[in-house]
């Protein structure tokens, strides 16, 4: 069964690289350029996991995470936050809002793939 991953980031170059990476790993990939698009994609396509950038226009990753967790259907949807801000407060905030994991940019592609695989497999 092919898993669907939603990648939300406002940096086009990051989107390009992540999309390429995840497709290579055998996932179906959806992309969103801002928070609102991400929410729409979740509603329409029901992804199995979200890679969510924090600093995005329209709605931030925190907003998206909070809104999803407020809905019954997405209580357990795995969300991995990606952020370039390395402050402890940001990490704590992401955790508090219900993010499954937190990855600091720039990240190692292998590490990211491992985390995604762990989460996707444990949720089945």
């Amino acid at each position: 069964m092919i898993r669907t991953i939603l990648i939300a980031d406002d940096e086009p170059n990051i989107l390009i690289s992540l999309e390429f990476l995840m497709k290579r790993e055998g996932f179906r990939v959806l992309v969103a350029h801002n928070g609102q698009e991400a929410l729409d994609q979740v509603a329409n396509e029901a992804p199995d996991l979200i890679l969510l950038d924090v600093m995005m226009p329209k709605k931030t990753g925190f907003d998206v995470c909070q809104e999803l967790r407020a809905q019954e259907a997405y209580q357990h949807l795995p969300i991995i936050m990606l952020t370039a801000k390395g402050r402890d407060t940001d990490i704590a905030k992401g955790k508090a809002l219900g993010a499954s994991d937190y990855i600091l940019k720039p990240f190692s592609t292998k590490e990211l793939v491992q985390k995604v695989r762990d989460i996707v497999e444990s949720s089945t």
Partner: protein
């Protein structure tokens, strides 16, 4: 005529009502519900100023001399204008130092001088007796007028025991004792009396206005009718004008009457009693100072009409003008109105008698009789353990004596003078208090000797130039000394002293007595140094507003026993009251009765309490007798004063210090907040920079890893990735440069190469270097510049940086192929304006303010630069004294512009 029994019955009933009011007011006060604790009653009680002399005498005076009755009421109006300043200070002093009479006030101010207290009392006594007689006369004549058939002569009884006036006097003694000396109060306050007086003031106003309205609008057709008829009687015209040929110095006489009544308003014993001693709250003064003059206006409106009506009705020179208020209603058959008018007159007279007799009896007792008794240890007084009853009986006796003296004066001299003259003689007597009284309130230099000399000289002059001639003219003395001077010395003629002629008798007497009084007071005060006690009292009086009770200095030193002081107080105030006062005092000090220390404060407290009961001079003597005092030297006074002022200064300094500490704390807190927010800003900046650095690094790392992982990656794919890596690396480099640039500019370390700059050339240079990018996106770039542009002093490279930044920004936001960007340069003498317009997506209003902030890029979905370009551009423009702006609407394109002044820099 009315029957004797009816008049007596009504008058007596009226007095009973008065007593009922007074009694109820006293009862209410005991229960803590004061009837007189409001400005209305206070103002009405001041109207005790209007005696029978006003009620009957004003009309008489108006009938003789027209408007000349008015200064007597205009003077008090003037006094009340300054009332809030002067009377308030009088009240404050009297309340602070338990002063209960005008004699005590003056004596206390000048070192609690016994002889001053006695002298002031004596002057008051001599001056007031005729005034009391006047009130008796008014009631008596009114009574006669009502009970004697019209047109028949009034027959006075030949023996005093047949004389109704004698019984009126006795009745008033009884009333005064009931109102004013029923019990002893150390504050000398009489709630019931004040309530009754206020009621009487209402009755006399009603009575007088009733007659006025009746005469003016019933007997005549209004005021104009009266005046018209009066003018028809030729010589009455003189009543309406100021300058009469007979009196060329009229304005001086007018002025002296104003001055006289102004002073009397403040210094008459009864005024002092109701305004100062009986004052409940000095705040009431604020309203009373204008309500009382208003009362005076009201009660005077009909004086002239009634006087003229009387003259028209009875004929000039016929009938007693003093009694027109009664005779006009009687003449027209309105006996009930005459009776009402009579009750009004009785109100005026009794009100005055009750208050005046109470006030003067207090003075007599405290300042004349008690000191004399205490000094001689009369009746073994010093051994007596409770003197309260004795004091009370002395007061009562004094009231009796006063009214009997008044009666005797009435019998002896009553018919000799018109009412109004008697009043003015009394006024002139109390006016003698003015220099030492007001001097004492406002001038620290006034001394006891000065006050003594001034009062004595003024009193003697008053007696010689005013009182003596008036007695002589009554037929009791040979008048030759008036006409030829004593022993034939013309220069000493009492009414033309030292040959001063032209003034009327009153002005003449007032001038000489007050002038000599002031000269002696000031002269003798300046001549000799005051004693320590005088100095200390002067300070306490003059600066009364500067001190609060608890910080007032206490001028006393020596040894004392609490027990002695307590026993002393019990003797004069009674056991219960003394114990209560001591307990309250101890409580105020935060101590128990046993813990009380016999210090200066306690001695001062006891002396102040005693002052209320027996006057300050006697209190001084009494305290001296039970404590072991050390004489107070001037140096001690200065020392105590200095200590007190140091204490005050300390507490003030402490207050200021704590205030400044508070301020410092607040400033520190604010500074700390600012530091915190600066710290926060720096934190934010670092975080933003980190974010901006990590974002391109993320792509670079991810893509590099992807290529490393897959050596067989297609060439096209690899080329795309390497292009991205290169772009991100360039972005990184740009970012590092801009961050450094920004830091340099903000830190003031940037290098500026200021030269003559041709802005037109710069714009063209920027356009040339951007043309490739514009061409690539298919965006047209238009330049609108004038033919020639004058140079300005700036850094050409930096300005090029600004224009490039604006051009590349614009390029990012315009659509490809249809995008249009215009650069417009406007040259003016004051400077150059450059605007870059685009037809891009525009910027929402709420975002516009943010674009110039670091790392704040507008949310518009278009990938852009570092977020530092615009902030740096703005810094550059501002460095050269210019400013930068943005006009834009969402969807309507944007216009970034900046202005550079020509003269601002260098």
């Amino acid at each position: 005529m009315l029957s004797t029994s009816l008049v007596i019955g009504v008058a007596f009933t009226y007095l009973l009502i008065l007593f009922a009011i007074a009694y109820s007011a006293d009862r209410a006060a005991l229960k803590g519900r004061s009837w007189i604790n409001n400005p209305w009653v206070y103002a009405l009680s001041m109207a005790v100023y209007c005696t029978a002399w006003t009620y009957f005498g004003s009309v008489g005076r108006a009938a003789n001399s027209g408007v000349w009755f008015l200064p007597i009421y205009l003077g008090p109006t003037l006094a009340m204008i300054l009332g809030w300043l002067v009377i308030r200070k009088m009240i404050r002093i009297a309340k602070t130092y338990r002063i209960t009479s005008i004699a005590d006030f003056i004596a206390s101010r000048y070192g609690k001088s016994q002889r001053l207290a006695s002298l002031v009392t004596l002057i008051t006594l001599v001056g007031i007796i005729p005034y009391l007689a006047l009130q008796l006369k008014a009631i008596a004549s009114g009574y006669q007028m009502l009970t004697t058939p019209l047109n028949s002569t009034v027959l006075y009884p030949s023996h005093w025991w047949q004389d109704s006036t004698f019984y009126i006097a006795l009745l008033l003694v009884g009333f005064t004792i009931m109102f004013g000396a029923r019990h002893l109060d150390s504050h000398e306050r009489h709630e019931g009396m004040v309530a009754a007086i206020a009621f009487e003031s209402v009755i006399k106003l009603i009575g007088f206005i009733a007659v006025g309205v009746f005469v003016t609008y019933y007997l005549f057709n209004g005021m104009s009718d009266i005046f018209r008829q009066a003018q028809a009687i030729g010589h009455l015209n003189a009543l309406f004008s100021f300058n009469t040929p007979a009196n060329p110095l009229a304005h001086i006489q007018w002025f002296s009457l104003l001055l006289l009544s102004l002073l009397s308003m403040l210094l008459l014993p009864r005024q002092f009693q109701v305004m100062v001693v009986e004052a409940v709250d000095e705040k009431h003064l604020k309203r009373a100072v204008w309500m009382f003059p208003l009362y005076l206006v009201l009660i005077n409106i009909f004086v002239l009409p009634i006087a003229l009506a009387g003259l028209i009705t009875f004929g000039v020179g016929q009938g007693n003008a003093d009694l027109f208020v009664l005779s006009l209603p009687l003449h027209s058959g309105y006996e009930w109105l005459a009776l009402l008018a009579f009750i009004g007159g009785v109100s005026a007279a009794t009100g005055m008698v009750i208050v005046e007799a109470t006030a003067v009896a207090t003075m007599l007792c405290n300042d004349l009789i008690m000191p004399w008794l205490l000094k001689r240890n009369g009746f073994g007084l010093l051994q007596c353990s409770d003197l309260t009853q004795i004091i009370l009986w002395i007061r009562r006796g004094a009231i009796l004596i006063l009214l009997l003296l008044g009666y005797v004066y009435f019998k002896v001299a009553g018919d000799a003078y018109a009412l109004v003259s008697i009043g003015l003689i009394s006024f002139a007597a109390v006016a003698q208090f003015a220099p030492s009284f007001f001097g004492g309130m406002y001038w620290k230099g006034g001394t006891e000797k000065g006050a003594w000399g001034g009062l004595l000289l003024g009193f003697v002059m008053w007696g010689y130039t005013l009182m003596l001639p008036s007695i002589a003219k009554s037929g009791w003395m040979d008048t030759s000394f008036i006409n030829e001077g004593p022993f034939g010395i013309a220069l000493l003629k009492p009414e033309q002293f030292l040959g001063l002629t032209g003034l009327d008798n009153l002005t003449h007497a007032l001038f000489w007595s007050l002038w000599l009084n002031i000269v002696a007071y000031v002269g003798m005060s300046l001549w000799k140094q005051p004693s320590a006690r005088e100095t200390s009292q002067a300070l306490l009086f003059v600066d009364v507003f500067k001190r609060k009770t608890h910080s007032a200095p206490v001028f006393w030193q020596g040894q004392a026993q609490v027990q002695d002081l307590m026993q002393l107080m019990m003797r004069f105030l009674g056991q219960d009251r003394s114990t209560l006062l001591f307990k309250q005092y101890a409580q105020y000090q935060g101590l128990t009765l046993e813990q009380l220390q016999p210090n200066a404060q306690l001695v001062h407290f006891v002396e102040t309490q005693l002052s209320g009961a027996i006057g300050s001079a006697s209190a001084r003597t009494m305290v001296e007798s039970v404590v072991d005092e050390e004489p107070l030297e001037l140096e001690d006074v200065m020392h105590i004063l200095e200590e007190a002022s140091q204490l005050r200064a300390y507490s003030k300094a402490l207050e200021e210090k704590s205030l400044s500490l508070e301020q410092a704390t607040a400033e520190l807190r604010a500074a700390n907040e600012q530091l915190k927010s600066l710290d926060h800003l720096k934190d934010d900046f670092m975080s933003s920079v980190t974010h901006e650095l990590r974002t391109p690094l993320t792509s670079i790392r991810a893509l590099t890893e992807l290529m490393l992982d897959d050596p067989d990656m297609e060439w096209e794919q690899r080329e795309q990735f390497m292009g991205i890596i290169l772009a991100e690396a360039e972005r990184l480099g740009r970012l590092v440069n801009q961050v450094l640039d920004m830091a340099k500019i903000e830190g003031g370390h940037a290098e500026w190469h200021t030269t003559d700059v041709d802005m037109k050339a710069i714009i063209h240079q920027a356009a040339t270097s951007m043309s490739a990018s514009y061409l690539e996106k298919g965006v047209s770039l238009q330049l609108k510049t004038p033919e020639t542009v004058a140079v300005l002093r700036a850094d050409a490279d930096r300005l090029l940086q600004v224009v490039l930044n604006l051009l590349s920004n614009a390029l990012k936001f315009v659509p490809s192929q249809t995008g249009q960007v215009t650069v417009a340069l406007k040259d003016a003498p004051e400077g150059i304006t450059i605007e870059v317009l685009d037809n891009g997506i525009g910027i929402a209003p709420e975002q516009q303010a943010l674009v110039f902030e670091k790392f704040r890029q507008a949310d518009n979905g278009v990938q852009q630069g570092t977020g530092l370009g615009l902030p740096i551009s703005r810094q550059i423009v501002e460095h050269f004294g210019g400013h930068m702006w943005l006009h834009s609407e969402l969807g309507q394109g944007a216009c970034f512009g900046f202005f550079l002044p020509r003269l601002a820099h260098e």
